[in-house]
Subunit: 894 residues, 2 copies
């Protein structure tokens, strides 16, 4: 038979699945000899059994009874013993932290009898009756199902009638009366008396904590945080200790290091004469932990000692909850603490310096998201006042702009050149134009998967969402929080990395980390810590990192950021601007000679582009993708053109001949689904001369760079391949052109020819395609679009947030690669491509190349490199390093 | 060492890979004891070796020499023997028939000496010199590379100077002079004499036939017919026999049955005093084979006997080429003969009746394409004159319309209600509007993979292409063939099933086969034969056949055609017509109650649709797909709306408020790629009430049918599923609604819930999806679109014909399923779906369900049923039967 109950001393930190995080760490501390009030933990297995059958599993009651006896024996008194009651707390504790989502019941064991015993032993009538009243209130609502508002109303009524400003002003007599009121209330509401049997209190409390796993709040939270519903919670039963027994008592929270900066100094909050709950509730102002040195030097010293013990044991930042009961220090909880990105780097570096962890472990403790966060400029918080409001940091960066409260106003002001922040209760697809127009989005509702958050991240806009204190009034064009009102047009500052919003224009501070990547300048400990992590990552990673760059400037930046080449150089950007009219001429050409003339005019311009990029990446590979988008993208919008011509006609003006010609071409080339149309290699195979012109431009650029003494390493990449036959035909044309240029110039030009794998069919027939390819590059944007059958542009705003909310996605498949679907195609293509062509070089150049979770996948899938935007290169380097460490997950312990 | 040469008696009919079709069948006839002039075959392997190295493989010359000796010994004279020369023919013969694409050289062995011997033994100076002149002409052009036009010029010049209307009017003296002229011509052109060594003639002729495999015509033909370039040709060397030695000689072609009707009567053509070449060239008019009975009763009787022997041996229709040399009958070639669809059925049925083949074999001898062809009405050819022109039958059916020569005229006339036939040299994507507007397309260039053919088939339009005799003059707006000119507006009749075009309006004859399927009426032997084949197919097939039908009428027709249920009932058609404004109201609804009102109005209308369909399919499954297309498809076109509003504004008219409201909605809902947008299950999950309304309509229809005593078997199918979570959510809503209706009506409604598998991700995660699905139905149209990343509507016209021409496709993947890519996903989904959910029912409802080749694939892939349009149901039944026969390919022996 399963063991359902563990004494603290029986467990350890690795048993969180069974004992929950809280239970496992209490067990660990007990084993370490730290001062933990004794207790035991009922396992998640017992909870699961209870939830499955609706009743406690066989044997559980006996086990609990046996452990209670042990507890009573060690305490020298029994649960609810009338003259000197042992009191217990019953708390939930799941595998993953679900703060405040499940139930807690304190002071179990108090009855009409034992409350008097407690009064005597504690020496405080008020304390005893207040504890009893709390038990009845918690038990009544949690276990017996009485509406908590009824208790609140009763205590409010009492305070009013007694003229008491707060609970502390109610005396023992008041509380005695309140207990009576509460008990009557329960009887009236449930037809049942508050139980006077301490064992019944305990049994029913444990049962209530089990049941709270399936409470609405908890279910909603798990759905949002993607915690499986099947885990269940453990229940910790522990002897009560009291921090509210006078000025020699108190409660607090302490960190082994400052979780904001990582600085190694005592850090935390303390509240004299209070329980832990009071610290969290913020009823009175806490004092800094350092004040405890003055208030209770012995406890302070002990606490410091325990914190060092914990950090040495856990080899990481820990936080603890502690209580001092009449001069005796008790530790009630510990865990590896959450921290900011800055602290993550600082702590990892310091622990490594101290020899507590290895360089690999230090690398595992930081993440790509941390680096990314540190590369943004931040607000100079010293120069601004308090936050106006706080919300969920949903899309990083810092932005300043005038507050606007609807989409139309956002568009109007942005068109006039003003920077705006769109403030909404929540956004819908209708807000899309406003989101495009603004610098940042601020909402009062919704989490990281809300419409605002998803769309803003997709656009790279700053976003803070779910600022619950914010009251948005679009009718009055204003919003309010904490008594401050922002009217339309007033400037606010939004920090999407921290979730903080300031009134007014907060000054920006450049990122020292960004400066380091740009210039190599080492300014301070944080930058040193980042540099060390990057070095370690580079030392251990097997995955190469390249950048997607289309200009010499981007190429140069990418190189400074550590890119080992260009994985994707898009030629279509070279067809825009002034050159658009040449492209237009090529498209409209009626004769071959017209077409040739237009292509000839484009050739030298493209050549110069390539010369610049090859120079910036001298000695490193530059993968140039042949023109991908449909040609009609270079022509004006069809509806606009039609409206312009119709309007001219209606006004009796002669329509522009050029417009008319364009409209004919646009109508002819119109596609209902351009994403699925004449683009990529298809275009190259039907538009005569287009491939040859581009390849000639590349080849002549190589010649020019070679003549200048450079080491140009151009590679030609063919987009949108479906079949090996397409690639074979293009390859023949490429090789013919390279030969032509080589012969004409006398300089040998050889460029590897490879292909994008961005359509399911290419992945499914990769074995055949590999026979004609010198490299593969996964275009995971298009591969995601076709595998799922939706286009990012069309659907992200339309239904992604609904899908995230409903749990259909855990994360947008455009942010993080979908391992089951798209990832399976990647694995098929890698395996079959390599089998057919040993040594085939394989990379990825979709946006996933810069996403931490996806980088880990690509490492596991055996790719040679990832390619991402220049700014994501450090992220990719770091995560490629972490992926190479055995068993490191993307967000370890965070 | 390989054996490169086979005596006829050494081979047999199964050796076509090595001996070519001709060589293998000559061998078979020799072994059967039929009168075949002796000879031997040089293998395709020798040809491949020659083509690879440019020289004859070692040993070939010796083998040929040895076989020549045998031949000479049996003939009692030697090759080119001066006094009585043995003459040989050298002919190509590949695995697959390539008529006229490679070289033939006759009369090998004639020299300046032996021509005189031949004159003496044949008793005809003219015959001998004409034979010699033919040899020099064929050898000169084929082997020595002289331009054939030079020989033609010389003979024309001679005829002119002699006043001879044709070759027959040249006498022996003329031909002796012509031989001299020819020899001089060769000497002048090549610097070499026509070889007087018969062995050299033979060696060089064989070499020339080898080389002709890679001639331009042959290469082009193979590309068009998808015959691999690697096969090579065999070469048959055979003793010459002569049908041109007087009135007791002649040549002809004979069939064991009439290849047009299948009637069992002697059928063929005969030409007295002629070689086989003359029959084919049509220099003189042939007589019907039956005339031979009068001309040469002995040979006629022998021939009849041989034909019966051949048919009994081959157990199929055979055709032969024969020559009678001075009263002696020789068979020169045989093969299983080509036949019309009608003949295919008739012959198969008769051979089975005769016990020559089994019912299974009879089934294997006919095809779905045959049935499909017989279901179209045809022109009453008896009522019209001769064909105006013939081309390649590219898309079946019969159409009549006014000839037009450009796209604009086609559109103009069609808009005025006229039926038109678009006549072009060839079509391009620019002709698309004209192709949409016309009844049929006729082109003078291009084959079955030309743009016209591909697009017309995609649209289901009649098409004849590659009518090479047709001269199209779009400038003059007319076309000419065989001296007849069709001016713009003149009516022509196009038969896309036979490739024949008639001037004027040919009367149409209904199809008896169609009448049989519609009514069960058995009118004649053809219908009986079709009915027998269908019965056999139904008896042996394991694949079920359902229909795609959206109306009670279609459902009833499908049932008459043999459908065993509806595999796809599209609800979107139920949202059109009068109901469009209700759908519009639902889309434009500003409040929940407006939306509910619109949905409530749609409900009874949909319910009645379902009642009708369930009644028509009573007792059989009806799979109803929830609404699939994006909602904006029910709103007006965006550009049209914008132009209308702009025009109104420019004219100073107040814009229509409704139009303005519509434009806002259309703009809001606009998608760049609607195929990849908010449609299918996505729509159901974000548009409140839409799924419930549809399911309620189905459920209430089931209740109504049950109350009426019917046996309704509705199934609910969810479109565009990507993940199991989507299906789970919809399923919950469906089941809730079914329960509601069951409870409200007191009638239990249970509908299996299944899903389309039409996105790569669904196929890749089919194992998980199967856990929530009671059936799968492959939507191979969408699956092809997303797997390949192109939309049929957008690309078929733009580049499919180019892709087919370049050999990238063998056939459009929308016509026949792409086994490598899409087919692999189908296999994955079947295997993993069934593994997760044993007994999962799996079908296909894309258009591939009615394509013969694809039906075979679905059978092999283990599907339970295919579903196709009602008119393709007989095709699918027949091919499902053929697929169940071991080793039957789609087009066996055709």
């Amino acid at each position: 038979m399963a063991q359902y109950v563990y004494e603290f001393a029986e467990g350890n930190r690795d048993m969180a699945d069974l004992l929950g995080g809280k239970g496992a760490n209490l067990a660990e501390m007990t084993r370490m000899g730290l001062p933990v009030p004794p207790g035991f933990t009922v396992t998640t297995e017992a909870c699961r059994a209870f939830l499955a059958t609706g009743t406690e599993p066989n044997g559980l009651a006996d086990e609990i009874a046996a452990h209670l006896v042990t507890l009573e024996r060690s305490a020298g008194r029994s649960l609810g013993q009338p003259d000197d009651p042992l009191l217990l707390s019953v708390r939930s504790g799941a595998r993953f932290s679900m703060p405040g989502m499940m139930e807690t019941i304190l002071d179990i064991g108090l009855t009409d009898d034992s409350v008097r015993g407690l009064a005597k032993t504690s020496g405080s009538e008020r304390f005893a009756w207040d504890s009893y009243r709390r038990l009845i209130q918690m038990f009544g609502s949690t276990v017996m199902g009485v509406d908590p508002a009824l208790f609140e109303a009763a205590i409010s009524h009492l305070k009013e009638s007694r003229g008491a400003p707060d609970d502390l002003h109610l005396d023992a007599t008041d509380l005695t009366r309140l207990v009576e009121t509460y008990k009557n209330l329960i009887r009236r509401d449930t037809g049942e008396d508050f139980p006077q049997d301490p064992a019944e209190q305990l049994r029913r409390s444990i049962r209530a904590v089990f049941a709270s796993w399936n409470g609405q709040r908890a279910r909603l939270y798990r759905q949002r945080e993607h915690i499986p519903d099947t885990l269940g919670t453990a229940v910790t039963v522990q002897r009560m200790v009291f921090g509210n027994l006078g000025t020699d008592s108190g409660s607090g929270v302490a960190f082994t290091r400052d979780p904001a900066t990582g600085r190694r100094s005592p850090y935390g909050d303390y509240l004299t004469n209070a329980q832990g709950e009071d610290v969290v509730a913020g009823i009175r102002n806490t004092v800094p932990l350092t004040d405890l040195e003055r208030l209770d030097p012995a406890s302070y010293s002990q606490l410091g000692h325990h914190l060092r013990t914990l950090e040495n044991h856990y080899r990481d930042l820990c936080d603890v909850e502690f209580t001092i009961e009449r001069g005796t220090l008790w530790l009630l909880q510990t865990r590896v603490g959450k921290r900011t990105a800055e602290a993550a780097f600082a702590i990892a570096a310091e622990l490594a310096d101290e020899g507590l962890i290895t360089a690999d472990e230090a690398l595992a403790r930081v993440s790509g998201d941390d680096v990314a966060g540190l590369m943004f400029p931040r607000f100079d918080t010293a120069a601004v006042g308090d936050a106006f409001v706080r919300g969920i940091p949903a899309s990083p960066g810092a932005a300043v702009g005038a507050a606007v409260f609807d989409c139309a106003e956002a568009v109007r002001r942005a068109a006039a050149g003003e920077k705006v922040v769109l403030v909404r209760q929540e956004t819908t697809p209708d807000d899309l134009p406003g989101m495009v127009a603004c610098q940042a989005v601020l909402t009062s509702r919704g989490g990281k998967t809300s419409h605002a958050a998803v769309v803003a991240r997709g656009m790279g806009k700053v976003c803070v969402c779910g600022a619950e204190e914010l009251v948005v009034d679009p009718g009055e064009r204003r919003c309010t929080a904490g008594g401050v009102t922002i009217e339309e047009g007033m400037v606010i500052s939004v920090d999407g990395s921290t979730g903080t919003v300031y009134a007014g224009a907060a000054p920006l501070v450049d990122s020292a980390v960004m400066r380091y990547f740009e210039t190599g300048e080492r300014s301070g400990a944080l930058v040193d810590a980042v540099a060390e992590a990057m070095q370690q990552a580079d030392a251990v990673r097997s995955l190469g990192v390249r950048a997607n760059a289309d200009t010499p400037e981007d190429a140069a930046r990418a190189r400074r950021f550590g890119a080992e080449g260009i994985g994707l150089c898009r030629t279509e950007h070279m067809f825009l601007g002034d050159r658009r009219q040449l492209v237009e001429a090529m498209i409209l050409a009626r004769t071959d000679s017209d077409r040739v003339r237009a292509l000839d005019a484009l050739l030298p311009l493209q050549r110069q582009d390539f010369v610049g990029i090859l120079e910036a990446m001298d000695g490193l590979p530059v993968t140039i993708r042949l023109l991908d988008p449909p040609l009609h993208e270079f022509l004006p919008d069809r509806t606009e053109l039609a409206v312009r011509l119709a309007a001219a006609e209606a006004h009796g003006n002669p329509p522009s001949a050029h417009d008319a010609e364009l409209l004919v071409a646009v109508n002819r080339m119109h596609e209902e689904n351009p994403m699925l149309g004449l683009r990529g290699v298809r275009l190259g195979l039907v538009a005569p001369g287009l491939i040859a012109m581009q390849v000639r431009a590349v080849a002549e650029a190589v010649v020019e760079r070679k003549r200048a003494g450079g080491d140009p390493r151009a590679e030609i990449m063919v987009p949108l391949i479906d079949t090996v036959e397409e690639l074979r035909l293009v390859r023949e044309e490429v090789e013919r052109t390279l030969t032509d240029v080589s012969e004409a110039s006398g300089v040998t030009v050889e460029c590897p020819v490879g292909t994008m794998i961005e359509l399911p069919r290419a992945a499914l027939t990769a074995g055949r395609i590999a026979q004609e390819a010198e490299f593969f590059s996964f275009g995971t944007n298009d591969l995601t679009q076709t595998t799922w059958g939706f286009s990012r542009d069309d659907v992200e705003a339309a239904f992604f947030s609904a899908y995230l909310d409903k749990g259909i996605f855990k994360v947008s498949p455009f942010e993080t690669i979908d391992r089951e679907g798209v990832g399976r195609l990647v694995r098929i293509a890698v395996a079959e491509g390599r089998a057919a062509h040993p040594g085939l070089k394989i990379g990825v150049c979709g946006e996933h190349g810069g996403d931490p979770e996806s980088v880990h996948f690509f490492h596991t899938a055996g790719l040679d490199y990832v390619s991402c935007s220049p700014f994501r290169v450090p992220v990719a380097r770091l995560e490629a390093g972490r992926a190479a460490l055995d068993g490191t997950e993307v967000s370890d312990s965070r």
